[in-house]
Structures are given as structure tokens and as C-alpha cells.
Amino acid sequence: MVDRLTSPRFLRAVLPAASFAILLIAIFYLKPRTMSYFGLNLMLQYTVPIALATIAQMFIITVNDLDLSIGPFVGLTACIGATWLADTPLLGILALAGCVAAYAALGALIHWRNLPSIVVTLGMSFVWLGIAVLILPTPGGTAPGWVKWLMGVKTPVVPFPIVATVVIGLVVHLLLMRSSYGAVLRGAGGNPRAIGRAGWSLLKTKMVMFGAAGFFGVLSGLSLIGLTSAADAHIADRYTLYAIAGVILGGGEFVGGRVSPIGAVIGAMTLTLTGSFLTFLKISPDWQIGAQGGILIIVLALRALINRREGLV
């Protein structure tokens, strides 16, 4: 029993949840009043869009790529959501579908020319930002009513952000970790040659994963404007970093298709809580991003320790 509890595999799986729990306990200790429906709702409000962006990034990382454009992309979908989708729903839906298709096409391009995804997505981040600026030159617009309604739902007992995040994590877990095609998709990251030899199209897996990332990017943008009710081209610039950090905090490996959807949403929640934690400690907001970097490094260091023990065994 003790062997099982101290096995590297178990420790690695438990690390994301443990980091989240420690952070949450620290916050409850500092401000006992946050231990309430209202407190949790307020602290975790922005978890939903961040978790969705993190899932999007996770899909890309599964196939050994990295998306440096997810932040501006979420910003673009937020701008489309707050303008076209609200005014002329049909045009808005078409535009958002176009965004998802564009992502799938990027996946195809990266596979076809064997391109480094960071350069491609870094270039695309300018394209997304440019389009967003064209659509919405100054901050403004209004979120469609139904989006605002959905994001403002009051669930009984457990606050909505937690319910929504858990649902997102579970749905993606079922699709990616429990379905047979999900195994193929992860295999395309773990051992592309084997998947290719087995007769699966690697082009298709890349397109599916990028398309899925685009779809979750759209959901992230929409849920974000549901909370802010207005949009801005730069509204989600930081999401690129959040999303990468969320995946890594959640136990995702950088290469080899080893990812965890549940871990990723826990990672996103941990990141969101860091902000509140620092505020309660009265640490200046200057150190906000620094602390996120620090937490990332600590978690990675712990994981390196666990992995080293695995090497010894």
C-alpha cells in the first residue's frame, strides 16, 4: 500500500491536485471568509475561459506542437462574439466556424510542410490580432444575451465556475482518454510512425487536434465575453501563457502525447487562484506573472525529482 502511494506514477498523477489543494487551503487560512459559495464564485470566476483555452493548448501539445497564438485567437473570437454574433447571429456563427476551419488548416499546413509550430503560430498571432483590430478597433461591443445568461447561471450548492470546469474536464477526458479514436490521437503524438504504419492518417489527426483547439478557443472567447460583457482585441493576450502553464501544471508532458484533461483544468484553476492568493498576501500585482512563473518552475522541479526517482527504481 505504502509502495503504491509513493510510486512515481501515483505521485505524478496526484501532483496537480495536491498543488491546487495546498493553494486553496492557504487561501482559506488567510481569508476564512472565502470559504463560501460567494467567495469561491468570485475567486474562480475566470476559470472557465482559462480552462477552455488550456484545453485548446492541450490538444496542440498532444500532437507535439505548441500554440503561441491561442491568446490573440481567443481575443479575436471574443471580438467576433461581441459584435457580429450579437448583431447578425448568422454571420457570427459563420465567422466562428471559419476560425475553427482556419485552425484545422494550420494543422494541415504544419503537417504538410513539416513546419515548426512555434514560428507558424507566432506569425498567426499577428494575423488574429490584426483581424480583431479590424473588427473592433476600440474596446466595446456587447455579448449576446444568451452567453451572458449562461455564464451567470447560479447552480445550487456548488458555484457555476466549478461545475462548468469539472464538466469540461470530464467531457474532454471521455473523448480523448477513453475513446478509441482518442487513443489514436494521443498516439499520433507519442509515436507518429507507429500510428502511420497502422494505417491512420497523420494529416487527419493533426487537423482534428488543431480543429478541436480552434473550437475550444472559440468557446473560451465566448465564455470570456459572457463575464466581461464587452470585448477588446487585446482582452486575452495573456491567455497564451496561461494556457501553456495550465497544461504543464496539470501534468501534461511537453512531448509524446502524454497529457491529462482533468489535470489541465485543475492547472487552470490553480493559475486563477494564484492571483487571489497573492492579493490576500498583499503582494503587489507586479509580482503576479512572476509568481506564476515561480509556481511553474516549482511544479516542474518536483516532477523532475519524481522522474529521477523513477529512473533509480
Binding site: L66, V119, G123, W287, I289, Q292, I297
Partner: protein, 315 residues
């Protein structure tokens, strides 16, 4: 060797061709003597991109997965520290410069420790360290409105026969780095590691030491860029490094360095930096809106990498 195969082997020529075409279009549009003014301005601004581009080039050349994302944060950090220490005094110039280089050294060391000891992939390592560095810069440089020492400002904006002095210095520096890349033990080791890390190791190259030098070099150059840039633009600002994330990677790629590693060239970085700046100038003179300008910049980078991307890493 026919001239055609010669040209196709020198990928960097295309960046200069591109820069020239874009310049010609701008010069014809504004007419008169404006064309030469555009070139000198482009030289001034391209200089800073070239400094960080050279560091990024060495990092990228060590192989797939190697890239330094901490450059923008290091630029801001080094600029803020140097400006605060010098406090506008010429006498403090050497100390300010030393402090700036120390910033670079610390960031480079830190990056390498994360990569080597914690085995964090370079992209994530440099990204997380950039969070810390940027936060330090923000906390340290809050409300920073210090003018650079007059001597530094003068040097950074001085012109010799109409050509920016700094550009001349950095052109010479680029020549030196080109020799370092192609003729020294270090440069050839970087290329060898990028081509095949295992073969390089078996050939007796100390792979880890070379990687260490490379990350430190990149951070030092970013720090130098921050130091000079704050002299050039009349003080440090916290977001002054921001645009150099894309720029440093873009000039390396457009300049004909292989992103798969093991193949690099320095002249292309100058061509690409000129091209990037002249392109923005051209779009500005044509009166294109900010949105279109961003879209075109992004699309050109994606287009260049798509055309250049065909070559598989040598095995």
C-alpha cells in the same frame, strides 16, 4: 558551379532582395530624397533586431526545440537596471554597462540551470524564467522615468556621414559573429550539435558546455540590446522588449537559418531585419491601417517559413 545553383545555396540573398524590393516601392511612392532617409532610419532600428537575432540564431541552430523566449523580458530588465544605476550620469556609464551585462549573465545562467538540472524543455524553461524576469523588471522599474546618460544617448543616435554609428558597429559585430560561427571551435560545435547531437557528442564535443555558452550568449546580447535601446529611445520602458519576441525569431527564419537546426548564417539576419522594418515603413507610407499591417506581417512570416520549411533535418 553555375550562378543559379550558387544563388539557390545562399538562402540569405532573398532577404536582401526582399528588403530592396520593399524599399524601392516605398522610395518610388514618396519620391525625391526620401528614399535615403528611409534607409538610414531602417538601419537604426534594424540594429537592435540584429543584436537579439544573432543570439536567437545560435540558440535555434543547436537543434529542434531550442528557442529563447526570455529575450523580451531580458531587454526590459537590463534596460531598467542600467538606467536606474546610471541615473543619467556619464561617469556611471561603465558601471551601468557592467550591471546590464550582469543581468544578461544571470538570466542566461538561470535559463541553463532550468534546462539542464530540472530537465525542463527550453521553450518552457525560457518562458517561465521570462515571467520571473519581467516581474522583477516591473517591480524594480516602477515609475521609471530616468533619462539615459547624455554620452550613451549621443552614441546610440550618432551618425557618421549620415550612417548611424551604432549600425556600423553592429555590422562589424555581425562580421565577427559570422567568423565565430564558421571558423571557431565554438561555432562549428553549435552547427554540429544542431545537425546531430549524438554524433557531435560521440565526436568528443562537450554538448552541455556548448549549450550553456549559447544560452548565456543569447541572454547577454538581449541585455546589450536593452542597454543600447534605452539609450536610443531616451530611457527604459517596461514593454520595450515586447516586439522583439517575434522579431528575433522572424529575422532568424527569414534570414535563411534552418529552424531544424544545424544550418545558420549571419548576413541573412541583417537582410531580414532591414526587410521587416522596411515592410512596416512601406505599409505605413501607403496609409494602411494597423489591423492590415499586423495581418500582412504575420502572413509574410508564415509564408516565408512555409516556403523555406521543406528541408528536413539532416539525419
Amino acid at each position: 558551379m553555375t550562378s543559379l545553383t550558387w544563388i539557390s545555396q545562399k538562402a540569405w540573398i532573398w532577404s536582401f532582395v526582399g528588403a530592396f524590393v520593399v524599399w524601392l516601392a516605398t522610395a518610388l511612392y514618396i519620391g525625391g530624397a526620401g528614399g535615403t532617409a528611409v534607409i538610414t532610419t531602417a538601419l537604426s532600428f534594424a540594429t537592435f533586431t540584429v543584436i537579439v537575432g544573432i543570439g536567437q540564431m545560435f540558440v535555434i541552430t543547436t537543434g529542434p526545440g531550442n528557442v529563447d523566449l526570455s529575450i523580451p523580458a531580458t531587454i526590459s530588465f537590463s534596460g531598467a537596471v542600467a538606467m536606474k544605476i546610471m541615473d543619467g550620469s556619464n561617469a556611471m556609464l561603465p558601471i551601468g554597462f557592467a550591471a546590464s551585462m550582469a543581468c544578461g549573465l544571470v538570466v542566461g545562467l538561470f535559463n541553463y540551470i532550468l534546462i539542464r538540472i530540472l530537465r525542463i524543455p527550453p521553450i518552457i524553461a525560457t518562458l517561465s524564467s521570462s515571467f520571473l524576469v519581467l516581474s522583477t523588471a516591473i517591480a524594480y522599474g516602477r515609475g521609471l522615468k530616468i533619462k539615459p546618460p547624455p554620452l550613451l544617448a549621443e552614441f546610440a543616435t550618432a551618425r557618421l556621414l549620415g550612417i548611424p554609428v551604432l549600425a556600423i558597429v553592429i555590422i562589424l559585430f555581425a562580421v565577427v559573429m559570422s567568423v565565430v560561427l564558421n571558423r571557431t571551435m565554438y561555432g562549428r560545435s553549435v552547427l554540429a550539435i544542431g545537425q546531430n547531437q549524438r554524433a557531435a557528442w560521440l565526436a568528443g564535443i562537450n554538448v552541455e558546455r556548448i549549450r550553456f555558452y549559447t544560452y548565456v550568449l543569447s541572454a547577454l546580447l538581449a541585455a546589450l540590446c536593452g542597454f543600447l535601446l534605452s539609450g536610443f529611445s531616451g530611457g527604459a520602458s517596461l514593454n520595450m522588449g515586447q516586439e522583439y519576441l517575434l522579431a528575433s525569431i522572424a529575422v532568424v527564419v527569414i534570414g535563411g537559418t534552418s529552424v531544424a537546426g544545424g544550418k545558420a548564417n549571419v548576413p541573412g539576419i541583417w537582410g531580414a531585419a532591414m526587410f521587416m522594418f522596411l515592410l512596416v515603413t512601406m505599409l505605413n507610407t501607403f496609409g494602411v491601417s494597423a489591423g492590415i499591417r499586423l495581418i500582412l506581417t504575420g502572413l509574410i512570416i508564415v509564408a516565408v517559413i512555409t516556403i523555406a520549411g521543406g528541408d528536413k533535418p539532416p539525419r
